[in-house]
């Protein structure tokens, strides 16, 4: 008799998901699956909307990384207008994306994952959260909150609001930075840099106590994908796509993101609203075909970005990057290191903001290239906090959307997340009597990826953890609920 354990909902992630763990008749984990349970259908209902409204609409895909969608959408619009946007607009968009990376990474680390890391995987689930952290370690919590606030404030300074600004548009951006805004941002840099450095220090200490997690939290070979500059440096807004393998070999490089369909395919599984993108040249890693299990899996996001770039391009972050690679032995394959990579990216983003904040272009009023519909199709790409984001639009001659395809960062980690939950479950779970802390580890494995499920399903947990006893024929034999 086999069993199925459903973790429902997966909590402290940005979205609605469940995890099912399958046990065989002796209580050994045979498989585990990660399911996303929301779907909103942007790809369909955006059809018929004007191109110029798309940044504003697609920002609503996600409240965590609206800026990523805003930028990818505006960039797809740039292509359709066939314009080169003003240099000041590029700098301003970059500034906002850096702010976005900071606020989202801060949220992932401090608000969502730090409770596991600092309070313990097995700590009381009632207090294992940001509010518990606020009580247990107020300084750290406050630092994290203020770090996120820093990112949000930059977005607000530029876009007029913290969430869902409609500031980037096809052809450029709507408003420059104000002098007051610049001063405010500049003044806060020292504080947030300190917060980021402290957090890095603290995380490095945690690595000592979380060796088992580092080993088992999605630690497997795969490809990594992300944008790099033409020189191979860390990139978040433009550039080319690069794939590297676990050994650090560049599998594909200088790929034009507009040709994403040539190397990224999307598969559908019946048990999730989240599609499973795969690296097309290597094929879909069919679950039934173990020899192909590793083939097309790739990971995106902070870990991938740090694995594919030569360096970040700012002094402190580059120093941290070297240490990161030492600790991870070259190309880092453990998904637990996503947290680490995230903190390094925060630091790098702060440094890059510092480098650019005094650029006079940020106050420029030449921000927008006006043009009509000059191409019927356009792909916009950006590095969202969670990885590479593609917006692919086809429009009619007047600029009404005819077809929309969105390939979202989190989705591209779907195969990896499935492997991760299976790996953790096999390692930590034995028999049907499972301590809560063990199940929390399975969830924590997911949290490492910081999945943004609003995004991934262009959509959008609850209810108890429940265990279902499932017969060999798939019928439900018994069901127990645990609070």
């Amino acid at each position: 008799m086999s069993q199925r354990i459903v973790i429902d909902p997966v909590t402290r992630i940005e979205g609605h998901a469940k995890i099912t763990i399958y046990l065989d008749d002796v209580g050994q984990v045979t498989d585990a699956r990660f399911h996303v349970t929301e779907f909103r259908g942007f790809e369909k209902f955006c059809e018929g909307r004007p191109l110029w409204e798309m940044p504003g609409i697609t920002a609503r895909i996600c409240g965590i990384c609206p800026v990523s969608h805003l930028l990818a959408s505006a960039k797809a619009g740039d292509r359709i207008l066939a314009v080169t946007i003003p240099p000041a607009a590029v700098k301003l968009r970059r500034l906002m994306n850096l702010a976005q990376i900071i606020q989202s990474h801060a949220l992932s680390f401090f608000h969502l994952s730090a409770p596991d890391l600092l309070l313990g995987m097995e700590s009381d689930p009632q207090t294992r959260n940001i509010f518990g952290l606020m009580a247990a370690n107020p300084d750290l919590a406050r630092g994290g909150i203020r770090l996120r606030q820093f990112g949000q404030e930059i977005i607000e300074q530029l876009g007029g609001r913290k969430i869902h600004p409609a500031w980037a548009v096809p052809g450029g951006v709507r408003e420059p930075l104000s002098e007051e805004g610049r001063t405010h941002i500049r003044d806060r840099i020292p504080e947030v840099r300190t917060t980021a450095l402290n957090a890095l220090e603290q995380f490095k200490q945690l690595l000592q106590t979380h060796e088992r997690e580092a080993q088992t939290f999605g630690n497997f070979p795969s490809l990594f994908m992300g944008l790099v500059t033409p020189d191979g440096l860390w990139e978040h807004y433009d550039g080319y796509l690069r794939f590297v393998d676990s050994a650090g070999n560049i599998v594909a490089d200088r790929l034009d993101p507009a040709r994403y369909q040539e190397f990224i395919g999307e598969a559908v599984e019946s048990d999730s609203y989240l599609k499973s993108p795969y690296y097309r040249p290597l094929g879909y890693p069919d679950q039934n075909d173990h020899c192909r299990l590793d083939s097309g899996i790739y990971r995106v996001g902070p870990l991938a970005r740090l694995n594919i770039c030569t360096q970040i391009g700012t002094p402190l972050a580059d120093q941290e990057l070297r240490e990161f690679r030492d600790r991870g032995h070259g190309t880092v394959t453990s998904s637990f290191f996503y947290h680490y990579a995230r903190l390094i990216e925060i630091l790098g983003a702060i440094e890059k903001i510092e480098q650019t904040i005094d650029d006079p272009d940020l106050l420029s009023t030449h921000l927008r290239a006006d043009a009509g519909i000059n191409q019927r199709s356009g792909v916009g790409v950006s590095e969202a906090p969670r990885g590479t984001l593609f917006h692919h639009y086809q429009v009619d001659e007047n600029g009404l959307m005819q077809k929309v395809n969105l390939v979202i960062a989190t989705g591209q980690n779907n195969l990896a997340m499935n492997r991760t939950v299976a790996q953790i479950a096999r390692h930590f779970i034995h028999g049907s009597d499972i301590p809560e802390g063990m199940l929390n580890r399975v969830e924590a494995g997911i949290r490492a990826f910081d999945p943004c499920l609003s995004c991934s399903t262009h959509a959008a947990g609850q209810m108890p953890l429940h265990v279902q006893l499932v017969g060999a024929d798939g019928t439900l034999l018994n069901e127990t609920w645990r609070d």
Partner: protein, 236 residues
């Protein structure tokens, strides 16, 4: 020129004989909400937001077309009127697809302002979610029927100020919609002079400048008033 004296909201107000209650109230600084009313073109009394109570009459009267009369006693803002007005605004929100968050007129919309004014924090009526189209065929302007409240301001400015009558209403009842010429894409209209007055007249984000992104569309009503005065009174 005969002058009439009347009371509006218990205030004594004087007005010229040919003025409407709305004119008199506005001159006295008393706000009466409107939607289909547009300074410079004829009144149609269709939106019913400006209904006021007139002492001695059981029927509510639209301020925009009701002429002042000596000794008239008007109440513009009773609970009953406010309640009716809120339902009217709710009706409009339920009827079309008014998604403020992603509308080009977000922040610059008379419908949105009315909702705020009426304290409408939610809509009790059933949303219809009609399947309506967007027309971007015109070089300079766009029309999103989802956001149209059928106030006919565009129809009237086009007919009365520009004189080409490109716009009109077609269909009936809940199937009513505005059209250009023979219900053809705006860009193919032979009558349209691309003057843009309909764009400025539109109270919502239904008619907009091409290329407007979310929250970016601002209507310039003053331009309509200016043109109306110039055309009708030869005053610039």
């Amino acid at each position: 020129m005969a002058v009439k004296t009347l009371t509006i909201d218990d205030r004594l107000v004087s007005a010229r004989e040919e003025e409407t209650v709305l004119d008199a109230a506005r001159e006295a600084g008393i706000h009466i909400p409107t939607l289909c009313y547009l300074e410079g073109v004829s009144e149609v009394g269709a939106c019913r937001l400006c209904l006021v109570e007139v002492a001695g009459s059981s029927k509510l009267q639209p301020a925009c077309v009701t002429k002042v009369a000596e000794g008239m006693e008007i109440q513009t803002n009773t609970d009953r009127l406010q309640n009716y007005r809120r339902i009217i605004v709710e009706m409009l929100f339920a009827e079309g697809n008014h998604v403020c968050s992603v509308c080009v007129a977000n922040g610059n919309c008379e419908l949105q302002d009315l909702a705020i004014e009426m304290g409408m924090d939610h809509v009790r009526l059933e949303y219809q979610f009609p399947d309506r189209q967007v027309d971007l065929s015109h070089d300079r302007f766009g029309m999103d029927h989802n956001r149209c409240v059928l106030c006919t301001r565009c129809v009237r400015v086009c007919d009365e100020l520009e004189g080409v009558h490109t716009w009109d209403m077609a269909g009936r009842g809940s199937q009513s919609h505005v059209i250009t010429d023979l219900n053809q894409p705006w860009g193919t209209s032979q009558t349209c002079t691309s003057c843009g007055k309909c764009v400025e007249a539109c109270p919502t984000g239904a008619i907009f400048h091409q290329g407007s992104s979310v929250g970016e569309m601002v209507h310039d009503r003053a331009r309509i008033e200016f043109i109306a005065t110039a055309r009708q009174k030869q005053q610039w």
